[in-house]
Structures are given as C-alpha cells and as structure tokens.
C-alpha cells in the first residue's frame, strides 16, 4: 500500500438542497457510491469513472452538470466532505476502491459506518471524523475551490493560514503512514495462531466443522 503522509488538493462537498438551503448530505450509502452493476468485476481497478454513477450520469450516460464531481475544479478533488453516517450499507470494498481510483484520498464527515471506515484504512484512504460545526467552517473554502492540505503526521487540516486538528487512532495512523501490509504483520504472529489452533483441537474439537 502507498504511504500516506500528507495530501494537498481541492475538497468537494456533497450537499442536499432544500429550497435555497444547502446542508451536508447524510447517510451516503455504498450503493450510492458504487451501484451494484459495477460489482461484477474481478479486479480492484478502473472503478473511478463509476463513482457515484447514478448521481453523476443521466440515464443516457451523460454527465449531470449540477453534480459536484462533474464541475471544475472538483473533477480533480482529492478530498470529499459529506454529512453523517458516510458509507453505510453494503460492505462492498468497491466503494473505497472507486473513491481512490477517482483520486480522492481523504473523506471528512461527522461520522462513518463501521465497515466502510475500516475498509478505508485497508486502501490508503484517510477518513476523518470532524464535528458538524467544524465541517461547516471548511465548507466555504471548499466551495471556492481553495487548496486544502491534510497532514496526517501532525493531524492537521490546513487551509491557507487556518488550521483544524483532527483525531486518528494510533494504529490506523501508523498503518497509513508506513503503508503497512496487514497480512504481512499478522503472519509475523503465526506462532500465536498455531498455539491457538492447537488449543482448539485439544479442548474444543466441536469448533471444527464436521465434514463427510
């Protein structure tokens, strides 16, 4: 996995419109992020063009102009800002794959669904939990297309002279910064797994599936 230390780029914000009022779009589910017709692939790559497909293209496959990721400079967004419970629903890792393939490396939201949150770190994406009040302070600069810097080492979002700190779990941070391969580090603990499996065989044979 590619190492993640800091990202500089444009931030796109996902809104819901109600009259003239804009509010952060909440409950963005993984079906919205990548609809099921794109899950038939046996590869991880190439999903970026179908990110948010049904919000991004009309029935004839033409870009819908009002959708943020279709508008310059947000077509090159590296950061996505959205409302609470981002990534709810299906466990499909195609969701983070499509986000990454589009070029987005950071997602900022008040809260994330558990499985999606976890999937992000496995793919070098940084999901940042930030209060709605703090997010509202970022939105104007995001809409103006001002460059954001997200510095993971110092845990800061930097916009011109403004700085916003964020929390990240130490293990997840380490994993991103070093670009660690989870499986590799678990396999270094293979003796613990061997011992555990011996304990199952000796004391809990019923846990082994019965086969003909």
């Amino acid at each position: 996995m590619e190492k993640f230390t800091s990202v500089k780029g444009i931030a796109a914000t996902m809104f819901n419109k109600s009259g003239n009022q804009l509010s952060l779009m909440m409950n963005i589910d993984t079906d919205m992020i990548i609809p099921k017709q794109f899950l038939k692939t046996i590869k991880r790559s190439g999903l970026g063009k179908n990110l948010f497909d049904e919000m991004r293209y009309d029935m004839n496959g033409n870009e819908i102009e009002s959708f943020v990721l279709n508008r310059d400079p947000f077509t090159k967004a590296k950061i996505l800002i959205a409302g609470k419970n981002f990534g709810c629903g299906s466990s499909r890792e195609h969701a983070p794959w499509s986000i990454l393939d589009f070029g987005i490396k950071v997602i900022i939201a008040p809260s994330f669904a558990d499985i999606f949150f976890n999937n992000c770190f496995k793919n070098g994406i940084l999901p940042i939990r930030l209060s709605e009040e703090k997010i509202n302070l970022l939105v104007d600069d995001s809409m103006k297309g001002i460059e954001f810097e997200v510095n993971l080492i110092n845990q800061l979002i930097i916009i011109k002279e403004k700085e916003f700190s964020f929390e990240v779990d130490a293990i997840n941070k380490d994993c991103l910064v070093k670009g660690l391969d989870d499986i590799g580090s678990t396999l270094e603990k293979a003796t613990f797994i061997d011992e555990y499996e011996k304990k199952i065989l000796d004391n809990f044979a019923w846990r082994v599936p019965e086969r003909d």
Binding site: N16, K17, S18, Q21, S23, L24, M25, M26, N27, D29, D31, M32, P35, K36, L39, K40, I42, K43, R44, E54, M59, G83, K84, N85, C88, G89, S90, S91, R92, E93, P96, F112, A113, D114, I115, N118, N119, N123, D169, I171, D182, I183, T186, L187, K189, A190, F192, I193, Y196, E197, I200, F204, A205, W206, R207, V208, P209, E210, R211, D212
Partner: protein
C-alpha cells in the same frame, strides 16, 4: 468471582489470539464466501504467493449474481458467468468447499450457513457481506467484512480488531397477530436510526425476542447492520440447540455434548455491564412499512407520510425532502393505499421457510392484483424443496406469483431481477436505498405477510384487514 460478562465479552475473550494495547488479533472460526467480494482477495493471495491457512473453515456459494430462472443452460450474463466461474476455480485451487449452482443446497450464503450447521453458537463468523449479522441469531459473533479482510482471514484465519461496545436492546411484551420479526427489527431501526448502533454489538433480549422462532431471530439479527451495528446477538437456548441438532456440519456424538455444555455458558451474566440500553414494547406495535430511502424511515401502516417542515434538524429535513421526491410521495398523506407495481418476497432477511409460509397463508385462495407483478424467491434450494413439499409453490403460482430459483435476486438486483425506473415495490428485503432494486426504483420494506397483502390489494395495505 470474576466480573459479569455479556455474551459478546465471552465470545471476544475466547477468540483472542494476541493482544497488545489496542491491537487485538481475533480468531475466526467460520468464513462464508460468495462470488462478488472474493475474487480480488484470492488474486491478492496469488500475487503475494500466500496460501489459505485453513480451507476447512470456509464454505463458498454463488448467490448475488445468479439468475433465478432456469440456470441449467448457463448464467446468461457474461460478466456474472466469469465471476461465478472464478469463485469455483478459486475454491478448487485453494481447496475450499464450493456448493455448485446445480446443487440443491445452493442458496443465499446467510441461509445455507445455518441450514448446514456451519453456523454455531459461540463461534466467530465472517463473510464479505454486511448481512453476516444474520448468524448472530444463534449466539455467534458474526459480521461483514471488506475484501481486504476476506484476504486477511483466508491467509491468517484471524482479523485485526478493536473491541466494540455493548448495546442491549430489550423488546418486551408479546407481538400482536401479523406483527413479525421484520416489524420488530424495523421498529428498532426506526427508534435508534441507521447510525444508532455504530461502534456497538447489539444484544437482543426480552420476551418478544425469546418467543421468536430461529427464523425470526435471523430476520432480527440480519437487519442489525441497518441500525449501524456490525453484529447482533441473541443468547442461544433450547430452540437454538434443537434447530442445530443433526445438521450436516454441526458437531456429532461426544462433540455435540461438549458443545452443548459450552453453549449453555454463553448467555450474558446477571449484572453484566452494557454501554447503552434501550427498551421497546412490542405489545402495541402495528405492521410497519418504510416510506423513504433509508431503513430508518419507518412508519406504522396506519400512519401518515412525514412532512419535511415538521423536522427541525436541517440535514435530516433536506434528507427527508430528497427521499420524498425520489419516492414520489405526498407529505402528510396516508401510506396505506399507495399503489405498487411489484412485490418481492425473498432475500437473506425474509427468504426462509417460515417467511414463505407466512406469505402463503395470506395469499391462499386469492389472486395477485392485475396491476402487480409479484415474485417469490426462496432463500435456498432446500427452502424451495421444503416449500414445494408443503404445496406453497402451488398456492403462490395459482395466485399469480412467479416461483423462482434461489438467490439474492431483487434484494440488490445484480442479476436480471430489477425494478424499472419509477416502479414501486413492496419488498421483504433489507434496503430501500436509492437505486438499490434498480435505478430510480422505489422500495417499501415490509414483512412477508405485508408484502403478500400488498400483492393481493395492489397497494400498501394493512395485512390485518385481509384476515379479519
């Protein structure tokens, strides 16, 4: 005496392989695999020259992509065919048991696990599918994972995990007639919201939960993910043991006795500490229906569609407005009587024999409304076989339902079963998200008996009016 523990605490502690600060390695007893979320994991193993640590702990089946029409002549869609073939090839290469599409045991992964006795109390069970929470009905710690974690489990038989918090949901009282496990689940989601369980494992308890059948418990645990919690748990009891005894893969002889002894120790201890608790009363619950595009958008069938202007929170209000536009519903009007085009009975939520019996009991002797296309998709080949033995297929067919082959079908519409744009469906599945059952399709989540009633009436209707 040691500190009182919840069932989740007990399963967690008994599966810790390694612990260092917050870095925990949890042993995984069972791994269910399907065609959509596994190909990249197997490819990852090949690229790193790794093997599958314990192929015997895994069981694979194709369910998401598979057509529900006659498949003896093939899958019919090239990409789906490749994905299903890739699953079979990967299982052969790595020595994993694969249930073929022609096998009568084939079905939705969360239905065949319990049917085969692969799912057992006290175990950890994972699958690259969020509805893995279903297996919590047996008192197993079961949750969905992404493909990277599928690869991690294949290679190491463990997962790197952080312990979740304990959330106790007590459902008191007895359900009225025609109020089902689906309604209980929807009422929980409606009460705590789709993010209410984020970071928690939910344990369900209380009279209404204990009196559910095993099938009903699976429905309840299945929908736990829609409340944001990755896993739901119900303490195993005599019903659980009776269901599992003599299943093909469940323990036999001495092993069964030892397992039983172990399982009886699993229920949460008196005085165990929960980080969060709620109580719900089932007594006055009516059948429920969703009106919007999130499973938390729940109302009673005798209720009215909400008005955005009544909602204070800005984000929520604009979300409701978006939902109502998408669903093409009039704020403030009754949900009952909204005309539908399609009915789908099936899925890992409601595709088991009990669900089909429940729907058939409503349908018997009646006809599907002329404006509705209705289908029943049994959850597995064994469910289908049992239903046919009981004559349920004939009840559905003579009422005008389609009777299909098992699979996930129109729950996620990856195969040919999908809604056309703007079509409205009463569905026993689990998600009413935008586009879930087909682009611009409109989904109302309901119980099997409510779906059956909607098929007969041609609109969302109170099933109790069809009976009384």
């Amino acid at each position: 005496m040691s500190k009182p523990k919840t069932i989740y605490d007990k399963i967690w502690e008994s599966h810790l392989v390694y612990e260092d600060n917050n870095d925990c390695l949890l042993y995984i007893d069972r791994h269910l695999i399907h065609e959509v979320t596994s190909p990249q994991a197997f490819e990852g193993l090949r690229m790193s020259n790794r093997s599958v640590r314990k192929p015997s702990n895994a069981l694979a089946v194709a369910d998401h992509n598979i057509p529900t029409t006659d498949r003896s002549k093939g899958i019919g869609d090239e990409e789906s065919e490749i994905q299903i073939q890739t699953l079979e090839d990967n299982c052969n290469e790595f020595g994993i048991e694969y249930i073929k599409t022609s096998d009568k045991r084939q079905g939705i992964v969360h239905i065949i696990g319990p049917e085969q006795g692969f799912t057992l109390p006290g175990l950890t069970i994972v699958c690259g599918d969020s509805h893995t929470s279903t297996h919590g009905a047996f008192g197993a710690l079961a949750h969905g994972i992404g493909t990277s974690e599928v690869e991690h489990v294949l290679a190491t038989q463990t997962l790197i995990q952080k312990k979740a918090k304990n959330f106790k949901v007590t459902i008191n009282g007895k359900c009225n007639q025609n109020v089902t496990a689906k309604d209980l689940a929807l009422s929980v989601i409606g009460a705590i919201g789709t993010a209410g369980g984020t970071g928690y494992v939910i344990e369900y308890t209380g009279e209404a939960v204990k009196s559910l059948s095993i099938e009903g418990r699976m429905t309840l645990c299945n929908l736990t993910i829609e409340a944001g919690a990755r896993a739901g748990l119900i303490a195993p009891d005599e019903k659980t043991f009776e269901y599992l005894k003599d299943r093909p893969m469940s323990p036999k002889g001495d092993d069964w006795d030892k397992a039983l002894e172990y399982w009886k120790m699993l229920p949460s201890d008196e005085g165990a500490k929960y980080d969060k608790s709620i109580e719900i009363d089932a007594t006055n619950l009516s059948p429920l229906v969703t009106w919007g595009t999130s499973p938390e958008d729940v109302i009673s069938i005798d209720g009215n569609i909400p008005k955005p202007e009544d909602i204070e929170d800005d984000s929520k209000r604009s979300a409701v407005k978006r939902s109502l536009d998408y669903m093409n519903l009039t704020p403030g009007s009754p949900i009952k009587g909204v005309e539908i085009d399609r009915v789908f009975i099936g899925s890992c939520t409601n595709g088991r024999i009990e669900d089909l019996r429940e729907a058939a009991s409503i349908v018997e002797g009646k006809k599907v409304s002329s404006n509705v296309v209705a289908m029943v998709v049994p959850g597995s080949g064994l469910v289908k076989e049992q239903a046919e033995k009981e004559g349920l297929d004939k009840i559905f067919l003579s009422a005008g339902f389609e009777w299909r082959e098992p699979g996930c079908s129109m729950c996620l519409a990856m195969n040919a079963d999908k809604l056309a744009p703007k079509e409205r469906c009463a569905s026993t599945s689990n998600r009413n998200f935008e586009g879930r059952q087909g682009r611009e399709g409109r989904t109302h989540l309901v119980s099997p008996s409510m779906a059956a009633a909607a098929a007969i009436k041609g609109c969302l209707t109170d099933v109790r009016e069809l009976i009384n």
